[in-house]
């Protein structure tokens, strides 16, 4: 039997696409190579503790009752209620540069006031920028071909402020180094500065479990440990998928969330040899620290801190194993939950060199994780209270871990710098969704799965 649709990858975008198809009575199967769901945004249990990978915070927050905005749109499309994700808004976050820390919340007025206080000459320009971004027409399936930095320079002339406004947005979604397309910048600006951060008390597993339950209730089939080895094609159409164990699965349409390059690599026959796509090289390491007390008891109340130790922010693959000049400090405890957090936790994320981490021999890999984990920690406590005496457990993941869970070439986080906004490929019945379609954040990536299904499979 041939499925109406097969989806490669049980991450946020694949599950969202699957829900739409199953809801409209298509026979749909999601194939996931790994033993668990989530892909880039997943979760695991280690020494009795639950950890998240990927997700620091859900962006695009909207309070209950909000009718407009990406979160409300995604909930409607997936027939979910606001309560299903159980989102608690952030406390506040900061962008910390030498001599200047800007604080922001889920209300843009806070950031406007901070800029008035720290950069009085830039306050009007920033207000006009906010206005411009709010009104900027973001059509799906398109890019602006404008440099975000160039647009920022039309509104602002303080070089460090421009860096500070680029920093969180590059960190949270740019597959390209140092600059991004203005359409993507506008989407990110809205999702982070205008809408803001939130998180379910239970972390990413809450969201994934809601999606999987919905998908299965609607009759969708989810197969774990079912990696796709090749896609067979003939005369411009994908005809079948061959799984790692040799099983053949047939489908009328295929949606792949594996990444553009990763998907093209699945072709061996006459449709192989597509124009090469540069793999992405922006990736991270992350340290996860479990603490014997809450970060707030150590005087750390911020939800997320984006830090950089010089006036210029370099967002690129570092030559060193880890870039110790900048990073992201996230405390999953510091959201406005309706109940007290169970255990203190701090996560520190920094840019990493994928080649270094992918090529280390096993013994050396563990040694370097410890070594660089300590250096990263030293770097981070320059901008936050020293919490080293409170650490009770540590885990550290690298591009190697990311490659293992996502299959991304280079273990890169945001995929290739070349995005395919339309989700179309060289085959008429093979579509892309997720990271390499260029929508960002988990709400964005769910919308990516939804929009591809709506545009091509439900018409």
């Amino acid at each position: 039997m041939a499925y109406d649709a097969v989806i490669i990858g049980a991450g946020m975008s694949g599950l969202a696409a699957g829900i739409r198809l199953a809801y409209y009575e298509k026979s749909v199967c999601i194939l996931e190579r790994h033993t668990t769901i989530g892909g880039l945004n997943s979760f695991y249990r280690l020494r009795g503790r639950n950890h998240d990978v990927g997700l620091h915070a859900v962006t695009n927050y909207a309070p209950p009752g909000a009718k407009a905005g990406p979160l409300s749109k995604v909930l409607r499309q997936l027939r979910l209620r606001w309560d299903d994700f159980g989102l608690a808004p952030q406390r506040f976050s900061t962008v910390a540069f030498p001599g200047c820390t800007l604080r922001f919340t889920n209300c843009i007025d806070e950031l406007k006031q901070q800029i008035r206080d720290h950069f009085p000459s830039q306050a009007d320009g920033f207000s006009r920028l906010v206005e411009h971004v709010s009104k900027f027409e973001v059509s799906s399936f398109a890019t602006s071909q404008l440099s975000a930095r160039a647009v920022l320079r039309d509104f602002l002339n303080d070089a460090m402020l421009i860096e500070m406004l680029m920093c969180p947005l590059l960190f949270y979604g740019s597959a390209s180094a140092n600059d991004m397309d203005f359409t993507q910048y506008a989407i990110m600006f809205r999702s982070i500065f205008l809408e803001g951060f939130a998180r379910p008390f239970e972390g990413v597993r809450r969201i994934l479990k809601v999606l999987v339950r919905k998908f299965k209730e609607l009759g969708g089939e989810l197969r774990l440990r079912s990696g796709v080895r090749t896609i067979e094609s003939r005369r411009g159409r994908a005809t079948s998928l061959v799984l790692d164990d040799g099983e053949i699965v047939e489908a009328h349409d295929i949606i792949s969330s594996a990444g553009t390059l990763e998907t093209l690599k699945l072709f061996t026959g006459e449709e192989g040899g597509q124009p090469p796509i540069e793999p992405g090289n922006i990736t991270y390491t992350e340290s996860i620290y479990s603490l014997d007390r809450l970060p707030s008891e150590l005087g750390h109340d911020a939800t997320i801190v984006f830090y950089n130790d010089s006036p210029t922010f370099r967002y690129e693959m570092p030559s060193e194993p880890i870039d110790l000049h900048s990073g992201i400090i996230c405390s999953p405890n510091n959201f406005q939950y309706d109940r007290p957090p169970e255990e203190g936790c701090i996560r520190i994320t920094a840019l990493a060199n994928p080649k270094h981490w992918l090529n280390l021999p096993p013994e050396e890999y563990d040694r370097q994780k410890t070594l660089w984990g300590q250096r990263l920690l030293e770097s981070a406590v320059r901008v936050m209270p020293d919490f080293r005496s409170a650490i009770v457990d540590t885990d550290f993941f690298t591009p190697r871990t990311i490659r293992k869970f996502t299959g991304h070439v280079n273990g890169c986080v945001y995929g290739s710098a070349e995005k395919v906004p339309t989700g179309r490929t060289h085959l008429e019945n093979l579509y892309l969704c997720g990271n390499d379609q260029g929508l960002l954040g988990i709400v964005g990536t769910m919308m990516s799965g939804i929009s591809v299904v709506n545009a091509y499979l439900l018409k």
Partner: protein, 87 residues
């Protein structure tokens, strides 16, 4: 189906699309777009729900007739004439 039954069908669909919405005060003559901030994706969903539940096809050129509740009920009346109202 009578107009009241059709109205109930549409309210039912809107409830599925926006389960958090209070639809008791929905006005028949004000565009749904304004009252519920529905966008083109949502209108497509109304059309697809009707197709799924009653197997009726609505051509894209007719979507504008679904702008208000009153317009939708008028438009659907001949199409759902023979359909059974659910209990």
């Amino acid at each position: 189906m009578k107009p009241d039954d059709i109205r109930r069908v549409v309210v039912d669909i809107l409830e599925r699309i926006a389960p958090d919405e209070d639809l008791t005060s929905l006005k028949d003559d004000i565009p749904l777009r304004e009252q519920m901030e529905l966008d083109s994706m949502d209108f497509l969903d109304i059309v697809m729900e009707l197709r799924k539940q009653y197997r009726i096809q609505i051509p894209e050129d007719d979507y504008h007739r679904l702008a208000t509740m009153a317009g939708t009920v008028d438009y659907l009346s001949p199409l759902l004439k023979g359909a059974q109202a659910s209990a």
